[in-house]
């Protein structure tokens, strides 16, 4: 391993791997940093299919989609530092300097001419949508429930209420059902579902799971572990309508209420945050106008519907980062 690279990619998910491959193809020296113990990012827990239809014209599962990229990364001889955490990222004159840590290497430094931020996104929590009532165990984000079931083989509950009709929520409704849990229903505060129609069809309708539109969870009930939720209808201004409350017994509440780009590592750089997407403002080459040489792609840039487009954004960022590094060298 060197300690200077043309392009350093932060995050080995679909965006990061695509950008690394493109940058490598264009002749740059590339390193990928990954905080988890393996590349693939969130795809590793998305064991359902439907990935890659645009890119490969095939219906792949998340881990299969990831596997294709990992093979290419291997073939291209691109280094990935897994279980490595980025502690600090600053720009010093013409290059980026980072401090990282891993159990294997301890605290160490790297320098890069260009940096691609492909750190993905995180889920909004129960606190961020202002759920009230008790605070028992048994409240999960959909992604957390997915990690427990798919990666670790544990059930978050046996009788679930799902709040929010985002795609992961719908997919988890099916997944829980397949694993023998009962899903009481999916509640969506908006008047239309936020997930794809096909997921309503194949995840809810196939298993007769009810979708309640214009209805939300107003209160959580249960001291130790969740025992029930109170659901209520809302008016056009999202205010609860009195008299429409109902108590739904359950032993877990799963939230699929939105994703936010995770770009906290950019706090020391003068990037401008895009109020709408939660990512940073970039030009159409995915570069920050305020921090030349800093590129952002994938869900860290804004939350995409399809992984195929995530990879595509990675290719754009990787290509531009490679060009930037080449020009910087001259």
């Amino acid at each position: 391993m060197k300690n200077v690279y043309d392009v350093i990619v932060i995050g080995a998910g679909p965006a990061g791997m695509a950008s690394a491959l493109t940058a490598r193809e264009k002749g740059s020296s590339v390193l990928i940093i990954e905080r988890e113990d393996r590349p693939g990012g969130i795809l590793n827990q998305c064991i359902h299919d439907g990935f890659g239809l645009v890119k490969f014209n095939e219906k792949l599962t998340g881990p299969e989609y990831a596997d294709r990229y990992v093979r290419w990364i291997d073939e291209a001889g691109i280094e990935i530092l897994t279980s490595t955490f980025l502690l600090e990222l600053i720009k010093d004159e013409d290059e980026f300097r980072m401090k990282l840590v891993s159990a294997e290497k301890g605290v160490f430094s790297l320098r890069g001419k260009a940096v691609v931020v492909s750190t993905g996104c995180r889920e909004r929590s129960d606190r961020q949508i202002f759920i009230h009532g008790d605070r028992p165990a048994g409240i999960f984000t959909a992604g957390q429930a997915q990690a427990f079931i798919n990666r670790m083989g544990y059930m978050p509950g046996r009788r679930a209420v799902i709040l929010g009709s985002g795609d992961i929520g719908l997919i988890m409704a099916r997944r829980l059902t397949l694993e023998g849990a009962e899903v009481e229903g999916v509640y969506e505060i908006q008047s239309r579902p936020s997930g794809l129609q096909r997921n309503i069809s194949q995840c809810l309708n196939d298993f007769s799971i009810p979708l309640h539109l214009g209805r939300t969870v107003s209160r959580v009930i249960g001291k130790g572990r969740i025992e029930a939720v109170e659901v209520v209808s809302v008016d056009e201004r999202m205010n609860p309508v009195k008299g429409t409350e109902a108590i739904v017994p359950c032993d877990c509440l799963i939230l699929s209420v939105g994703l936010i780009p995770e770009i906290d590592i950019l706090k020391d750089l003068p990037v401008v945050k895009d109020g709408k997407t939660g990512g940073i403002v970039t030009d159409d080459r995915m570069e920050s106008p305020q921090v030349p040489g800093l590129f952002s792609c994938g869900n860290a840039h804004h939350v995409y519907d399809l992984v195929d487009y995530v990879s595509e954004s990675g290719e754009i960022a990787g290509s531009a980062a490679s060009e930037f590094a080449r020009e910087a060298a001259i």
Binding site: T61, D67, Q197
Partner: protein
Amino acid sequence: MKNMTCIVCPKGCSLQIEEKESGFEVRGALCPRGERYALQEMTDPRRTLQTTIRTAIPGCRRAAVRTSKEVPLGEIFSYMDAIKGVILEEKKECGSVLARGLCGSDVDLILTERLY
């Protein structure tokens, strides 16, 4: 007439199917795959199935798997039971066949992840 959402691709076309003497007539599909889906759905609805199985590999509690082809929707829980009986004893390549002829059919079980 029956309405349904095509699940073949993320576009999710709204399909209308009408039974005529000559057979089913499908409207609303933007591609031939949608039409095929609708016909299949009317006669024998099928779904791909993905889940996980237990493993005997240290540090790897579950491995992701899928069926090699679509299985009858009505039998999906029988397939789940059959799949859950399979245990991955050792590391294999992503794409390996882990079991053949699930539930007496010609459907195989495929490993869908790279094991580290």
